[in-house]
């Protein structure tokens, strides 16, 4: 009997993709479970962290960013850099501002 990869040359690649799919389901399940943790409201955005890992898995496993040309990888890295700049500068004010309570006597 011939080796499966000789009968079907795509078999090793399909097996690799299957493991990536399983990993995504596991991380997605962890994310789903984490959403039921009794976290304080301000810390609940941490539930997004598994999604960041899932995005990385899809980019590396399915989109094969590492196998792409130097130019393609540069665009992918640039996209992440620009996104970081957008989110960092955009959230700098609301996340660092200190609000002072107005005394009740001054509230009309």
């Amino acid at each position: 009997m011939a080796h499966p990869s000789k009968e079907n040359p795509a078999a090793p690649e399909i097996w690799r993709l299957f493991r990536i799919w399983l990993a995504l389901l596991v991380v997605g399940g962890a994310e789903f479970a984490a959403s039921f943790l009794p976290l304080p409201r301000s810390l609940r955005p941490l539930v997004i962290l598994p999604a960041v890992l899932m995005v990385a898995i899809v980019a590396i496993g399915f989109m094969e960013v590492k196998r792409g040309s130097v130019l393609a990888r540069t665009f992918a890295i640039a996209a992440m850099f620009w996104l970081l700049v957008l989110l960092a500068l955009g959230t700098a004010d609301p996340l660092t501002r200190t609000d002072y309570r107005v005394p009740d006597a001054q509230v009309k």
């Binding site: 690649e13 598994p50 899809v58 665009f75 620009w82 957008l86 955009g90 996340l95």
Partner: protein, 215 residues
């Protein structure tokens, strides 16, 4: 099946042409990252000032539909990428099958999202422009903001899905005409990048809409 691949005149080789097409798609996706990045920024900013309202809105979303749709999109990306592996091995029939299953999963996603979930949202008075919006009181304003984000982001994502479904039909049509081979399947790869990116956008929207506010 094309056994000889020739590049257009401006490229030095077929692989140069393929690399350029793939890099071009990555550049397009970089602009898409910033497009959806603006939406994410809106979510961060709006939620920061309206946490209770955002959480009240999130609790009204249909978690089972969002979770099922996440599984559907992850599976569709897996199956489409498997199709790329099959055409690399010269198996056109399997490529067409993979694209067809991906297409069906994409349609299932849209049916669940817009046929069932949106319909239910409208019936439950969760559209933020309704005067009889379901959530009232001190959380009403924040909840309306949440549902503005919800409807705009899912509509934009759905539009990208529709474009992706159109591209899948185009790939199936070309594959049935035997236009791809192990040597030439660049359009299959480029559409695969787009489809996986649409998957990535949903992986980001899913926790923002369904999970973060669900305490």
């Amino acid at each position: 099946m094309a056994s000889v691949v020739r590049q257009d005149f401006q490229y030095s080789s077929p692989s140069h042409q393929a690399d350029t097409a793939i890099a071009g798609m990555w550049l397009f996706l970089a602009t898409e990252v910033l497009f959806f990045g603006g939406l994410i920024l809106c979510w961060i900013y709006s939620r920061h000032w309206n946490q209770a309202g955002f959480d009240a809105g999130a609790r009204e979303t249909k978690l089972w539909i969002g979770t099922l749709n996440t599984g559907i999109l992850i599976s569709s990306s897996f199956i489409y990428t498997a199709g790329i592996a099959f055409i690399r091995a010269g198996n056109m029939r399997r490529l067409i099958q993979c694209c067809s299953v991906t297409l069906l999963l994409g349609v299932a996603f849209l049916a669940l999202k817009f046929g069932l979930e949106w319909h239910d949202d409208f019936a439950s008075h969760l559209f933020p422009a309704f005067s009889d919006f379901k959530i009232t009181g001190p959380e009403g304003g924040g909840a309306r903001l949440f549902f503005i984000f919800y409807f705009i982001s899912t509509a934009l994502h759905g539009l990208h899905m529709l474009i992706g479904i159109g591209l899948l039909i185009w790939i199936i049509w070309r594959a049935r005409r035997d236009e791809f081979s192990p040597l030439y399947h660049t359009p299959v790869q480029v559409v695969g990048l787009y489809w996986s990116f649409v998957d990535i956008v949903w992986l980001t929207l899913y926790p923002l809409i369904y999970l973060v506010g669900r305490a």
